[in-house]
């Protein structure tokens, strides 16, 4: 009896429903790489469709593909395909779904793209609104002068 059950669970399929309604059928062992999903399954054993409210179908597809294919080679090429906007949304997804390997890969990728860039450039790519007053900003720049010298002109 126990044997049958374990055989069934290894090929068991789950459905993940992205925020825009797109459905993905994945094997249990793939879904388990998403620790958030794992926790959901642990709580409700018989669940078949799991809602993923924070992640668009487009990004969930990329995440699932990553889990299936991840290895040293794949990871090295992975980040080159995506623009900065997608990288950030993928990181948000990886963080919500709690996938440590993907988070690590994306953090490194984002870091690589902001390396050697001025704060003005970083604000632009991250869409950060500067809510410092001019005086506050000037004070920060003065306090750690060395940090603000010699950066690439974008």
């Amino acid at each position: 009896m126990a044997e049958e059950k374990s055989q069934a669970s290894s090929s068991k399929m789950l459905t993940l429903k992205a925020s825009d309604g797109v459905l993905f059928e994945v094997e249990l062992n793939i879904a388990k790489e998403m620790k958030t999903v794992q926790a959901y399954i642990d709580d409700c054993e018989d669940i078949e469709t799991i809602p993923i409210p924070n992640v668009l179908g487009k990004h969930l597809a990329i995440v699932i593909e990553y889990i299936k294919k991840t290895n040293e080679e794949y990871d090295a090429e992975f980040e080159k395909q995506w623009n900065m906007d997608d990288l950030q949304l993928l990181l948000l997804a990886a963080n919500y779904l709690n996938i440590s390997g993907l988070q690590e890969c994306l953090c490194k990728a984002i870091a690589k793209r902001i390396e050697n860039k001025s704060p003005e450039y970083v604000r632009k790519v991250f869409n950060i609104e500067n809510d410092h007053s001019p005086e506050e900003e000037a004070k920060l720049r003065k306090e750690y002068k060395w940090a603000f010298e010699g950066v690439d002109k974008d």
């Binding site: 490194k108 902001i114 869409n127 950060i128 609104e129 920060l140 750690y144 060395w146």
Partner: protein
Amino acid sequence: MSSIANDHDVISSLPDTVLCHILSFIPTTEAVATSVLSKRWTHLWRSVPSLNICDVNLDDLEDYCRFNDFVYSVLLARNNTSIKSSIFNIWYDDPHLGRLGFPNVIKWINSIVQRGLERLEMCVGMVEDNLQLPISILSCRTLVVLDVSGFTVKGFSSVRLPSLKILRVQDSIFLNARDLLLLLTGCPILEDLYACNLQSQSEDSLSYQECESLSLSKLIKAQMPHTFCHFPLKALRNVNELCIEINKVYRCFDEIPTFHNLTKSKLHSINYNWNLLVQVLNHCPNLQHIELSQGTDYGGGKRDNDQENWVDPISVPQCISLHLKTCTLWYFRGQQGELQLAKYILNHARVLQTMKICCRDSLKKERELSLCSKVSPTCELIFHVFRFHKEESLSD
């Protein structure tokens, strides 16, 4: 579909720990500069678990003072988050600045090795002389990856690196071969060793006891190009991959262990010592890929007058007859022994797929080798002619 990110500040909705993790991969100067991005980011840099002092080139006193102040203020302003990874990449263009500044680097290193450091990369140098590696690094219990280059390594009596898995040491000077061994003895779980261009100030050989004392049972990969001091092969017996200056590190009566796991090997500096080469091959029963060079990877070797000619071994080394798939002979000069070695391998390597012969000028012996019988039906013989810039004087 990306309209969400276009207008919104997505990144700031991630937890602090994730943002700090991103910042841990960039130079500390840039991490500190993020304080001006917005109020959310003002203090994040203080929790970044890394200290990356990158590409600092100091050639005047004012620059040096400002740099010094910066690092001290960063260390003081940081909160209690331990520094897990650190890079120090500094060049003192003036030896006076180097002697003035380096004691500060030692203080910085001393403070971070006490507090959970796991990865350290250090390349700190100055004109005219090597600086001495801060020895507090050698007793950092949490260190997993160490990558240092351009130092003199001395002044230590014990090494305790119980977590170290990856060690890279390059272009550095040791007092003697014993000190290199002492360093490695302190790394019991080492998996990956890269020891390139290490010089020993003394020509002394190790004693038998010293050779026996080193056992790197977890070591998988050992690459020691351009390191010529005496080194016990026995310590490397578990590796899968080996690159070594064989006739330089081996001394008479050293034990050659059986390298059961070795599948890929580069043997440099053979110096036409065919007897040694055959002995080593006899101890590599599972070798599949081999590259051989009489000299270093910069050029061909010098032939000593009393080196013996190639003599066919009594029995075919097991790796040659059963496992060898690829063989590359570097800086081939068509000397008699080299030719006979190449023919021997072609005649006996039953599963050989590629024999590649790299030579400086097009080889007169090319035809002779092409006509030689190959026991492996799938064997491809490739001649690669190249010009190289660094030429050792060839005394043949």
